[in-house]
Subunit: 268 residues, 2 copies
């Protein structure tokens, strides 16, 4: 079961903690109006940041990038970090956090526009379009002349296969998503990575963002600070209208979005 | 380059630290007589344990089992531990250490004799012969009704593929060897494990025993203690004569050994 994260405005309230007009983030799924008992809702301060950021850079995707990269990859200055799904809501933040931490950041994305956005606007040191690149391994060796120390994986499949031979000794892989594998009738056979992990004494670890729930305040504060300092940029792609939500979701699964995909049901 | 570990007796010495008749372990490779400047040699006390144990339970294989399992898998009492290559020099020790730590130990090996040795003599809770088992996943689910928390992998390939769907949340995999893959002309395609690691928030890590070199004294002391307490059994398979060394090595790669394979060149 997957439930989309949402931001909503209180339209009516019989709970003194919730006032009409207040903004909250929560998990109501795809509906225009929802009834809530107030549990699990996160109050938003619309004067601090646009409320939409609670679904992106200051919400789940932001926390996923922050903890999933920093905690699992433990990047050190001077290391090389590769991100797949690099133009997505999470990947675009991971590469920028890598730069903030003094690393070389290399992104893998699915269009020339995305690649240009990563290198020209977000400060990635290199990026390539996997749809128009034939030899991923050669491309990675070229963009990562010192090898790969950290890999933040959103996609899996043949892109990840190509990262394996370029890993350095004691590399760390954070497995955030495997979007290339989600809609397959059965998992497609591919490269078994354990021999690479063995030869390079490397580690791969999957995570779910709820592991880090207790530490969200730390992550939100740090990400908000980096945004204020101009060190972290984000993009939102907004589709309007309930009827366009299914296409928006399918678009994400097919890699059509740059940054966070949002569906707007009503004016704030 | 692989150099076989050896135990030798000093035949002649011009170094006051080495006396004729003393036993040492070191890396001279396959030769009947070797010249050494004394560097990297480990002096053996023949009265403490048979000198051959310096090549097995109190040597590299023992340290590999001890640190590669305890440090990387971090087993907790009550957890289920699966070991592939379970009847080998390393695997047979891992399962016994798992039992000492209060875990359920399940082994995967390549003959009915090995399976019987594991369960009847070494105290494994379960084991199966992968050469005569058709559905590895069903067998593992049957022998591990609570799922798999730790997997110590010596073999890789289709045996490891079958462990993945039985992993518990936050499982730990120690990648010690991938013997099924070493002699392939090219890696055979198989199951990509990252989606399993993601879904179960699990970790896989490769290691090389030299990482733990500084802590060998701790490992040797603990293993020797467990042997003295009768908690740890080991088996050595001794082939005699230089001319039989190549067959012995090929036998190991083909899984013909039970416990540590040794080649004896001379009487002590």
């Amino acid at each position: 079961l997957m439930v989309g994260g949402t931001v909503g405005k209180v339209a009516q309230s019989r709970n003194p903690a919730f006032h009409v007009g207040d903004f909250f983030a929560g998990y109501w799924g795809w509906q225009e109006y929802a009834v809530s008992d107030g549990k699990g809702l996160q109050k938003l301060d619309a004067s601090l940041a646009p409320v939409s950021t609670a679904l992106g850079v200051l919400g789940m995707p932001g926390m996923t990038a922050y903890f999933g990269f920093l905690d699992i990859c433990q990047p050190k200055p001077g290391e090389t970090v590769v991100v797949s799904g690099a133009a997505g809501a999470v990947g675009s933040l991971v590469g920028q956090i890598a730069k903030i931490k003094g690393c070389r950041a290399v992104g893998i994305a699915g269009s020339d526009d995305k690649v240009a956005w990563l290198t020209r606007e977000l400060g990635f040191d290199g990026a390539f379009n996997y749809k128009t690149t034939e030899d991923y391994v050669a491309k990675l060796r070229n963009l990562c002349p010192q090898g790969i120390d950290c890999y933040f994986d959103n996609v899996g499949g043949s892109v990840t296969d190509a990262v394996l031979p370029v890993l350095n000794v004691r590399a760390r892989i954070s497995i955030c998503g495997q979007i290339s594998q989600y809609n397959l009738a059965r998992p497609e056979p591919g490269v078994r990575p354990f021999i690479y992990l063995l030869n390079k004494q490397s580690r791969a670890e999957g995570f779910i963002i709820s592991q880090f729930m207790d530490r969200f305040p730390e992550g939100i504060a740090q990400m908000a600070e980096w945004i204020k300092q101009g060190k972290l940029k984000y993009r939102e792609q907004i589709v309007t209208g309930f009827e366009n939500a299914p296409h928006a979701l399918i678009g994400v699964l097919q890699g059509e979005n740059t940054g966070k995909m949002l569906v707007k049901f009503a004016e704030a």
